[in-house]
Subunit: 307 residues, 2 copies
């Protein structure tokens, strides 16, 4: 309808916005930066999501955040006013656990990540190492000669967001991955989370370092990889052209939509804004032009008055 035009919906007549709302039956929504920021709901997002459901649309929540389990996401969403069920949540820790379960994986997983990942592995009965700090206690020389203990039976390495990421974890992950039969899974490739005055690194920066020292490429579970909604797309009632992907980060959310043939809506409450889109449109980089959304809203809640 507005393919790659980045049309600002707030500047369209009400009837056109209503027609646009009628052009999709399924909604995939990113969470951080679209529905909430940390522990605060973004104003109006819950109203719009709940109204989509009231209009009979299917709604799914697709997040690259690997630090929570589906039940933990559900608890947060309900608390913030989103009418959601656990089956509607697609998170990268969950998808990683499903990936291994579907392959009848029966070894142990070395986890660079958080309890979001280990609890999802527990839920499907897959063994794993612990999470938390793993720091060099002595010298490098002592570490490699004495403290560097590799566990037996590791058959996969999962790398997600890990605020305790450290040199010993890099060394262990790369050492396990030296076995070409060891599976290598990355939850997502989000580079970073810019904050006012500082930067929080994302899983993507952790994953790249493990890829470099292991000299291998991970299978990435999260957006923009269509793998994240592979199960969903097996449902014959979900038509890509009548599916809307809503996101705040173009190189994950919007690109997932492009990769799957969905309609795309960028909201300006997170990473990318309209001026990013305009700079890609003005530039010559075809890869960046792929990231241009069909439509744009300053915030998702702006849609509510049209529903």
């Amino acid at each position: 309808m507005y393919k790659k035009s980045a049309t600002d919906l707030t500047k369209l007549p009400a009837e056109k916005v209503k027609n646009w709302i009628n052009s999709f039956d399924t909604v995939l929504a990113d969470c951080d930066g679209v529905l909430w920021i940390y522990n605060d709901a973004i104003e109006g997002s819950a109203n719009v999501i709940n109204k989509f459901k009231g209009l009979g649309k299917k709604v799914y929540f697709v997040t690259n955040n690997s630090t929570k389990t589906r039940p933990e996401f559900l608890e947060k969403a309900l608390r913030l006013g989103f009418n959601m069920t656990q089956d509607e949540i697609i998170s990268t820790a969950y998808v990683a656990a499903q990936y291994l379960k579907n392959r009848n994986f029966d070894k142990k997983v070395y986890v660079v990540g958080s309890t979001g990942i280990t609890k999802e592995l527990d839920a499907v009965g897959i063994q794993h190492t612990g999470v938390g700090p793993d720091v060099l206690q002595t010298s490098l020389h002592h570490f490699v000669n004495h403290d560097f203990k590799l566990e037996d039976g590791i058959g996969a390495v999962i790398v997600g967001f890990d605020e305790h990421f450290s040199f010993p974890k890099m060394a262990k992950a790369a050492s396990y991955l030296n076995d070409p039969n060891c599976l290598f899974i990355g939850t997502n490739t989000d580079e970073r989370f810019p904050m006012p005055g500082y930067v929080v690194p994302g899983s993507g920066s952790i994953l790249r370092s493990v890829e470099v020292c292991s000299e291998r490429k991970a299978v990435v579970m999260g957006k923009p990889n269509p793998f994240v909604c592979e199960e969903l797309l097996k449902d014959p009632t979900i038509k890509p052209e009548r599916t809307l992907m809503i996101g705040d980060r173009c190189n994950t959310d919007i690109l997932l939509g492009v990769n799957c043939g969905f309609q795309t809506l960028l909201v300006g409450t997170g990473i990318h804004k309209m001026n990013d889109v305009e700079s890609w449109r003005a530039g010559d980089d075809e890869e960046l032009k792929k990231l241009i959304p069909d439509v744009y809203l300053p915030k998702l809640g702006d849609l509510y008055s049209h529903m």
Copy 2:
């Protein structure tokens, strides 16, 4: 003379080897994997290096290792029997300090690395942060809201080998680099050091993670960047075509030689072996074909009987 033929010198007649030795006046030798492995000299390497000098050749030692200062390298080299002076040592920590000094840098450096870097900065009077462990003591939430202290006056980030590399260091480096005026220096891009049974990550894997979360590319000091021997090549008596680069890692040492128009010798006592070279020759990847050395020796000491 044997351009990119990877000729095994041990299979040539003695006279041809002598002619080859006469084809260069200057020698650039990598250290780890060529002269020594950790604290042990590689058999025969010191004899050959010292004999090169006896034959009147200029010899320089070019190492990507950022963990030692030039005086520390010298102490080690003398202990292992190499006839060396400090002026002949070109190390990446030293080059990084020179790089800043030559720009009249008068701010402070945030260092992800070791005392190899901070002592070289001290030697040229440049201020810097400390090195060593910097780990998340509490939760991520507490870290970003309370513990995350950025220092004033940081004008450069140097990333080298750091066995205490951690998530807080990534976050701080990326935050300083958010200022486009902050210089970004990487000592080297060596991916890893494979050992029997395990892998030690190299500076390259640390640097890549900082590049990803800062969304910037570092200026790299080390091999294969010709920058590392820029000063050397200002000496008009050093002719690239009569200069030999000796190394054990083709994507750093041999590629430096190729980038500078030097002759190249690969020795099989470190990272790359003759079977690597043969696989590149048999393949279609032009980038890998660039890594093929002119000549090959199982170990540098094999040359001694011809000198």
